[in-house]
Amino acid sequence: MSTSRQTVAVLFGGRSLEHDVSIVSGLQIVHALDPERFSPLPVYIDQSTRWWIGDSLWTTESFKRGGPDRSKLIEVTVSSGFGTSQLVPVGAVPGLSHPPVHVDCFVPVLHGTFGEDGCVQGVLELGGCAYVGCGVLASALGMNKRVTKVVAQQAGVPVVPWVSTPRAVLDRGSAWLKELPAQVAAALGWPVIVKPCNLGSSAGVSTAANAEELIAGVLKVFEYDTEALIEPFITNRLEINVAVAGLDEPVPSVTEMPVTSQASPLSFSEKYKKQGTKGVGTSEGMASALRILDPDALPLEMRQRAQRYATTVFAALGCEGISRIDFLINADTNQLFFNEINTLPGSLAFYLWSAAPHYWTITELLGRLIDRAERLQAMKRGLQRQPPAELRLLG
C-alpha cells in the first residue's frame, strides 16, 4: 500500500429520515473514490449521532437487520484540536485502543437533518478539517426552503408564491384552523402543496384541495418539522433539475426531467425505491429512477435558463461541492420557477455529470472536489486568528 494515498473519510447515515438513503449514497461514493490517489474510510453516523468506523461498513449488507454489530466497530469522534483533522476513538486507552486516524479530507454524504443542514459541517469546521460540499452557512440556508426562496428571489430568480406557518400555531388555540385556510385561499387559491420547510426527500409532502386537506397536510408536516410551507400546486406541471459543481467557478450539468413529474409529488418510496423491488438495498437505487436527460421536448432556451438560474442560486447561497437545483415549469404558461436546492443530492447526482457535455466520471469529479476542498480549508486555516495587540486584553 502506498503511503502517499490520502485518507478520505466518507460520512453517511445520520439522524435523519433519509438515514438509509444516505448509507446507499455514501457507499457508492466510498467505492467510487480513485484507489490510486485515495484510501477511503467509511464512517457511519448512527441515528443517535454516534460515529463509527470498522471493517464491516463497506457493504450495505451489514446495515440490514438492525444495523451493523456495534461490538465490532470503533466509536470515534472528530478531534477537537483545531487543524489536527483526526478521528479519535471514544474513551481511548493510550497504547491499547485503536490509534487516532488522520483524515486528509471528509466527504459528508448525509441527507437531511443534522447532516445536510450545517450541523456536521460545523463539527468539521471546529476541527479545522477539509470537507467536500457546502459550508455551514450555505448548508443551513439550503435546508430551509423558505429562506432559500427569499435568497433566490433577491438574486432575480423567479419562485412560486408561498405561505408558511410555524408549528407554534398549535400552542395558540384552534383559531388557526380557520384562519390559515382563509389566508391560503386568498393568497394562493386551491389546490396547494404542503411541505416541511426543513426536510429533504418527500416525507411529509401532500397536496390539498380544500381546508380540511390543508389542515391534515399541515399536521402531517408538524410531525416532522417546525415549519410548514404552502405553495400553489401547479396541476399541469413539469419538473426539471440541474446539478451545479463548485469547481473554479460554478459549472452547471445537463438538465434532467423525472418522468413521474406530471403525477403527484414523488412520494418517498417512489423517489428512492425501484418499483416492485427493494431498491434501497441496491447500489443503483436512485440513479435508475426513470428520468430523461436534456429533454429536447423543452425549448433549448428554457433549458439554458434553468442552467443559468441554477448557477445564480448556487452562487447566491455560497455553495460548494455538488448541489442539485430543482425547478418547476407551469406547462400552461411556460413559466420556470426555482423550487428547491439539495446541497447534498442523492448519489451526488453523478448521473448528470457522466452525460454530455462533461462526460466526467464520478471518480474524476470526486478527485477534483477533494482537491478544491483541501485548498479552501488550507486558505481558511491560513487566515489570521491571533488577536492583534489592541485585542489582547490579558497580556
Partner: protein, 539 residues
Amino acid sequence: MRSFWPWLPLLMLVQALLTWRRSLGYLRYFQQEGYEAIRFTKWANVRSLTDPAFWAATAAAMLAMWRPFVAATAFMVVGVVLALAQPDPRVSGKIPLRLTWRAVRVLVVSLVLSFALWLAVANTLVRADMQAPLLASAFLLALLPFVMILANLLLTPYEQNVQRRFEADAVRIVKTVKPQIIGITGSYGKSSSKSMLAHILQFDAPTLAATGSINTLMGVTRHIRENLMRGHKFMVVEMGAFKTGSIRRLCELTPPSAGLITAVGDMHLERFGSLDAIVTAKGELAEAIPPGGLLVVNADSPGALKIARKATHCRVLLYGETSSEALATRIEDIRFTKKGTTFTLRTAERAYQCFTPLLGRPIVLNLAGVFTLAIALGVSPDVAVAALRTLRPVSNRLEVVEEKGITWIRDAYNSNQFGFRAALEVAAALPVNRRFLATPGCIELGAQQFDVNRALSREASLVCDNTVVVADTNKEAFIAGHRDAGREARLVTVPNRAEAFRWIRDTIQDGDAVILENDLPDLYERSSGLFWREREQAS
C-alpha cells in the same frame, strides 16, 4: 480399555454442534414465550421427539448393538448434515431470535447443563459400550427444551435482581421527568389506541408512546430508560394483563392520572380462567387512577362497563356506538371505502364529521375513546378531528393495499374474533369481484375456541368465495362452520402459510380481494422451520 473411547471426542464434537444449533432453534420460541416455563412447556410438548436428530441417535444406538462403528459413523454424518440443514433462527422465521444478553445467558447455561447431562448419561451407561454416547445423545436431544427451562430457572434470581435495578432506575426517571401518564388497557385495541392517542396528543405537547405493543413491566421499564426525556409532557402506556396484579405493578412504575379501557372480553380466557378474573385484572387500572382523575370506558363492552360502575372515585366518561348508557361520545353513521372510514362523533356540544384512512368498526370505536380522552385532557376537538385524517394505517392491521389489480386486506396482526368480523365487514363493503380469506382462525379461547371459530367460519363462508384455513389448530371448527352454512365446497385446507399463499396466487384474478387474517406466530404452525428449511414464503 473400552472400544468407544477413541470415538468419544468426535461424537462429542458432533453432539456439541447439534446441541448448539438445536438450542438456538428452541431459544427463539422460548424468547417468544417470554421465557415463561409453562407456556414454553405447552409449546415444546413432545416436539423434540419429532426431531430427526433424536431418531438418528436412537436408531444409531440400536444399530450399535451389532455394528458399533458403522452406527457411530452414520450418526456423525447424519448429525452434521442435520445440524447444517437447520435454518439459523437468528436470521430466519417471522420473528427471528434476538441474541440479547439474557438470551445469551440462557443459552450458555443451557449448553453447560446439556454437556453435563450428556456426560452423566454416557457415564451411567458406560457398560453399554458404543451405545452409551449414542443413547446419551438421544436422551439429550429429547430433553433439550426442558434443559433450557432448567437453565432459565437457575438464572431466575439473577434476572430478578437485574430487573429490579432497571425498574428502580425507570421509577427515578419518571419522577424526574414527571410526564402526565395515561394508561390504556383492554382485551383488544390497546396498541392501536395507544398509538392513535399519542398521535393526537403530539400536536398538543411532546408525547412519548412506545411503538409496537410493549405492555409488560420489563418492556415498559426498558422503554422508559431508553426514551423518556425531559420535556415529555404526556406518556401513553399500554398495560397488558397477563395475570391478576400485573397492571397494578405497572401502575406502580408508571402511575396514571388518566386511563382508557378499550374493551373487556374473553380474550386470553385460557390464562385467566373466568371473565370475572379478567374484569378484576383490567380493573386494576381504574383503581390506580387517583381521586379526581379521569377514566374513559367503552360502554359497548359489558365487561368494561362493570369496571366503570365500580370506579366512583374518579371522573368517568363513556363512549360507544350501541350502548344505551348516557355517553360522552357516541359514534354514528359509519361508512367504509377503500380509502378509509367516514363517521360522526356526537358529543354533548355538537356532532363532528370525521374521516380516517384507517378501516374497521373496532378502530372507529377506539378512535371515539381516544377522542374523548384527548379532548378531556384539553386538546381542541377541531385539532383532534383534523388529526384523525392524518393517522396512518398500521401495516397488517386491517390495512387495505391495492397491488396489481388485487385488493389485499391485510389483518395478519389481529388475533381476536372481533377484529376478524371487522375485516369480513370491511371486505363485504368494498366493491370487488371475488373475496378470499386465508386464516388459521383464532386461538387462546379456552373451551370456547371450537365454537368461536365455527361461528367465524360460518360468517366467512357468507362473505368469501373461498376460505383457506391454515394448519390443524382450528381446521375441524372451520369445516364444521362451513358445513353449518351448507358451503363445505368453499373451504380449502392447507398445512402452512406457504401453501396458503401458493393456493391464493394460483387462484386470484384482477378485481379480487384477499383477506389475510390472524397470521399466527410460528409457534402454532404444523411445520415451522425449526429443524429444516422451509420453501421460500410469498409476501
